[in-house]
Amino acid sequence: MPDHIFFRGGVHPDDGKSLSCDVAIQSAPLLETYVVPLQQHIGAPPKPVVKKKDAVLRGQLLAEPGGFVSAAIHAPTSGTVKDVSECLGLSGTMIPAVTIVADGEDTAAEPLPVIENWQEADPDVLKQRVTEAGVVGMGGAAFPTSVKLSPPPAKSINVLILNGVECEPCLTADHRLMLEDPEKILIGAQIIARILGVSEIHVGIEANKPDAIALMTEKASGTPVTVSELRVRYPQGAEKQLIYAITGRKVPTGGLPMDVGAVVQNVGTAVAVAEAVLEGKSLYERITTVTGSPVVAPGNWRLRVGTPYSEALKLAGGVKMDPAKLISGGPMMGISVYSLDIPVMKNTSGILLLAADEVSQYTSESCIRCGRCVDACPMSMMPGTLSVQIENERFDLAEDWHALDCIECGCCAYACPSHRPLVQHMRRAKGEIMAKRKAAQAKK
């Protein structure tokens, strides 16, 4: 058993990974149309640079970053822009999107110039490339990577942690990536380390992926990368919990990993960075797990951005029984959606279908103050108390009780015997508190 430090709290959901963890990554055939959302990341929406009827090539810029915290969007294939309008997004609202009708040729645009000797390249040039390629965090949050790689000069970063934990049940995209492309992950890690100017690089992998740990350890010998085997417990792969497990450093409340000198990147992001630098490839495809008991052939696919969920499901052979629930992401942190028209984005790590007998409909009851949510919370919060305050719209109290520290991992709701919608309450409170702060700032 690994001797790493262990965060408090957490839960042990059934990991459901056996459905797809042994299925190799497959590439998807070309589709006729792709609907590429323009807002695929946290931050400012990018500005579209194409218009209706424009011809585009694969990898061509569709939208340029609309600010510092923003990311470029590139075309997934060659074809014609049918429309610059909108599509249904994860949040149930319409989001701006570019519809591309493929010409079937899949002609690549002129790639960005390859940076071959990245070991000696100027870190700023490498960082510029990450920006140009539109790389965002591919673990799920989709935070623009270039921003994470530009810490303010006052913060000194001395450790880079690659996140290969994949603690979210049912998802196996990162697992397969580590088995099938370990070299690229390691090169990507070293490029990121060069940009940040750090020499200490860790890859954290949960102990339930022994094959990935063995392979990564083997490939990492002779590189500055150390592979760490981590105990299995959800949410081991959450940024702050991962930093604690590997370095023993605690990110202060309201702080960021850079406050303790750490930067965490997903293994998928490392591959995207490596491809951007070594191949000049912009980010327009990713590995997505399509899984769940109703799916005929669960597996992992290399999907282009803009592929509708319905097409991804077709690749997996469709369904053998009526699904009761469709989730974008995994069962713990994923978002339940109701339409297969939603397109795959840069952060779509999984598409999960659940059968009727796997979905429970609960009525939420009053808090019985049993404290199970407190035991389960990896952020040492008191979700039960907070949820009662939030129910009464006491967002000021919720702020005092550090509602903003919530990482929305869902452990509290998983543990709650009263089936209280604790995560939804937290989200509401976080939204209200942020809105209040924004209004206060605007007043000044």
Binding site: S91, T93, S339
Partner: protein
């Protein structure tokens, strides 16, 4: 016995002291203040911009505010206040809130089942709450709870309707609706468009039978400028409104007479719309 006498004497002396203190140091309260407070609705809706009715009354007596600023007062109450304070009321037009969605459970499709917190603001955080139309009323009563006058009702079919006779136009509901469906319209307006989806007609009819499909029939049936089409949505020109008769031409009945909405439709009538 001695104790009773001592307490009695103490009471008399201290009481006299308090009486003197009030006489010399007591704050002078305008007697009109209490009267004005009594004339205000005391719902503390905040629509006047002051911190509640008491604060507004203080401002009124100090002649720092116009009585007409209170949208919740009836025009008689405003006149009474003006008479008391000796000011002239500004001309004002009473307004009512309109929930611009007519897609209740019988007309709008549900795309999924929502089983979370029963509040619209919470529902929009989870994939939009499960209603097929991403612009429609979720019917989870956030506006009804915000209304200080109980003027908004969630019907049995799951949609918010405004009872015009109770609505004072205080606009408290306007800002709480996460879908931005509620607007204030002149209470005299004969008809409203009960749809706010900016999508194309074909996309709207897929999810709702009571959506505005932008067919322009109402524009043709009314006089110039009375009805407008903005994008794919019809809009009543409240400065020059058409008569309620124009509603008859609307194929989806999203253009409805203002008085019709709160009156619950007859069951037969409701079924007719579903089958249309």
């Amino acid at each position: 016995m001695a104790g009773v006498v001592v307490l009695l004497v103490m009471g008399l002396v201290l009481g006299f002291g308090i009486g003197l203190a009030v006489k010399f140091f007591g704050a002078v309260v305008d007697p009109r203040l209490e009267k004005v407070e009594g004339m205000l609705p005391n719902a503390n809706c905040g629509a006047c911009g002051f911190a509640g009715c008491a604060d507004f009354a203080r401002a009124l007596v100090a002649l720092e505010a116009e009585p007409g600023k209170c949208p919740s007062c009836s025009s008689e109450a405003v006149e009474e206040i003006c008479e008391l304070l000796g000011v002239v009321a500004e001309e004002r037009e009473p307004k009512v809130a309109v929930v611009r969605c007519g897609g209740d459970n019988t007309k709008a499709k549900m795309a999924g089942q929502y089983n979370g917190v029963a509040d619209c603001k919470d529902a929009v955080l989870v994939a939009g709450g499960g209603k097929g139309c991403v612009h429609g009323c979720l019917g989870l009563a956030t506006c009804a709870r915000a209304c200080p006058f109980g003027a908004i009702e969630i019907t049995a079919d799951g949609i918010a309707i405004v009872h015009d006779e109770l609505c004072t136009g205080c606009a408290k509901c306007v800002s709480v609706c996460p879908r931005r469906l509620i607007v204030l319209a002149p209470a005299s307006a004969p008809a409203h468009v009960y749809c706010n989806s900016p999508q194309k007609g074909a996309a709207k009819t897929k999810v709702c039978k009571a959506s505005c499909i932008g067919c322009r029939k109402c524009v043709k049936a009314s006089e110039d400028g009375q009805m407008e089409i903005k994008g794919f949505l019809a809009a009543v020109n409240y400065d020059n409104p058409p008569t309620a008769a124009v509603c008859d031409v609307c194929p989806t009945k999203c253009l409805k007479p203002a008085s019709d909405e709160a009156a619950s439709p007859e069951p037969e009538e409701a079924r007719e719309v579903v089958n249309a």
